[in-house]
Symmetry: C2
Subunit: 322 residues, 2 copies
């Protein structure tokens, strides 16, 4: 695996990414809701990446990595470890380029997720559900195939790709005061930082995190990366820790990190489905939950809210158990 | 109640309706899905009235009725009997005009529906869950208040309002071969007929109906209105029978009525939520279910599909029981 620690993407990388990936992604719509505007006292602009190709913003970074490869490197394919939206997105992008995508997934991952990755053409190698096994199996796949490793969020090509989302948002909505996005590994938030720190440095960037997976919050307050010890949250895309590259952006450009409880996340998720009629993941509800919890921060402001993805198991909706 | 039997709306009524209601409705987006295009072999354009004000296309007709009243008549308010989207929509429109809206609902209607009507400012009078009681209670309310009766679908002002939906669709999508919408009382389908028979008579109009509430299908085949005897379907907005005005449009302008089973409707509903990430009612899935069932009718065609509404009880999703 190549060392990307000091390899930060630039604003120009983000611009190049947008040109590169445009044929393979949707320019997702921005929705508004008079109900939520009245409820929060803010003007909210929801950037709907749940309508994105492969169902999540992750396809932006994955497509930038895949379509930026030379033909020679691309011929050996790409590889990653993920059981979530990055695996789907990388499989989708590789399929569009016609190259192999190797995905290392725990054998215990839900069958539906394995089926979805295979549906996009991904080649799954199963590992045991432990970091040790994942790393060993991934090293073997990487060595055997010579495929290019695309990390789910710490890769500069991925961060540059995610940055295209807030570029579109700024083109779609005038006069935003702030943007808020959920934070897990920090890929989307880093992309916002990358883009807005040059394009619109006056726009404040907030990150929203589950209380039960608040490693980014604690890292932000401490001034250095703190990884969570076995985080447990319904927002399952947000369990991963910050890494060097995403920490760089978060620590330099984020105004604040706000947190919400599991019940607040579930309530905000259900309310969004009810009022906006959109299917979105629990992770996407964390920003709205924190806005409802901290109305004084956002009242009277024009706020972009990133709805990150819509890949939900409709047979296991969280309010069914709450 | 005034007799509207021979009082059909004209194309000019529809145009006037659109100007009248524009400030109070959304011009809803048209979504496409490469997944569904591949699955059906057709090009489908989904007109998303689930994102409409009050969550359904019904607000078009209701707003046209409410905002077309003279100030003198409006002062006494409007009245209807409905436990569904028409009650919500009429309450919303009356609220925007600042006039009373009287709604007769069975006392057995779900509390959530009563709360939603009251949330929009509707004044509920409860009746027993029988036609006799509903008519008696409605007559009393009508007599006492002098409110203007707005029938959920047979009213020409309502049909003219619903016709604005396919006008927008024709402005949003070029070269449609056909339009398909669910049919219950026939308000939306009649609106499509009203608009398209003048604006684009080459566009075929299909209606989609649950097998278990197939009164429109049987009426269409028989050449006269046949009311269903206690229809029972998950598509609960589609249980009502055609009336004189809607029958006029259906019998003159509809190319065919197609039907789908309960399981086909539920499967199409769940698949749409999964792939398009939108929350929509079971009724809205009937068109897609019939397209999947009759691919030869639609293959290679450009087809407008009306997604009629998104007011769903998220605690009782039909696939939970199937």
């Amino acid at each position: 695996m190549k060392d990307v620690t000091t390899n930060l993407p630039t604003y120009e990388d983000m611009l190049a990414a947008h040109e590169r990936i445009k044929p393979y992604i949707h320019r997702t719509p921005v929705l508004t809701s008079s109900y939520f505007n009245e409820l929060t006292g803010a003007q909210l602009f929801f950037k709907c990446e749940n309508f994105q190709k492969a169902g999540a913003f992750k396809v932006r970074g994955a497509s930038n990595a895949v379509f930026g490869l030379s033909d020679e490197v691309a011929a050996k394919g790409v590889a990653t470890h993920s059981s979530g939206n990055h695996a789907l997105s990388l499989s989708y992008a590789a399929g569009r380029r016609g190259i192999p995508c190797h995905v290392v997934m725990p054998r215990t991952a839900p069958q539906a997720k394995k089926d979805a990755v295979r549906g996009y053409g991904g080649i799954i190698t199963e590992c045991e559900p432990s970091t040790t096994s994942r790393e060993a199996v991934f090293a073997e796949v990487h060595e055997r195939t010579g495929a290019d490793f695309v990390h789910p969020y710490n890769d500069p090509r991925v961060i540059a790709g995610q940055g295209t989302c807030s570029k579109e948002l700024m083109e779609q909505v005038d006069g935003l005061d702030s943007v808020i996005a959920p934070i897990g590994g920090g890929g989307m938030v880093s992309g916002c930082c990358l883009t807005l720190s040059t394009l619109a440095p006056e726009v404040k960037i907030y990150a929203a995190e589950p209380e039960q997976a608040d490693d980014a919050y604690r890292s932000f307050k401490a001034g250095h990366i703190i990884a969570d010890d076995a985080p447990n949250t319904i927002a399952d895309g947000l369990k991963v820790p910050l890494k060097e590259n995403t920490w760089h952006f978060v620590s330099h450009h984020v105004t604040d990190i706000l947190t919400a409880s599991e019940q607040e996340i579930i309530d905000a998720m259900k309310l969004t489905w009810q009022r906006m009629k959109i299917v979105m993941e629990a992770s996407c509800a964390v920003p709205l939950a924190t806005i409802l919890k901290n109305p004084e921060v956002f009242r009277g402001k024009r706020v972009g809210v990133i709805i990150t993805g819509g890949n939900v198991d409709l047979d296991k909706l969280p309010w069914m158990n709450s």
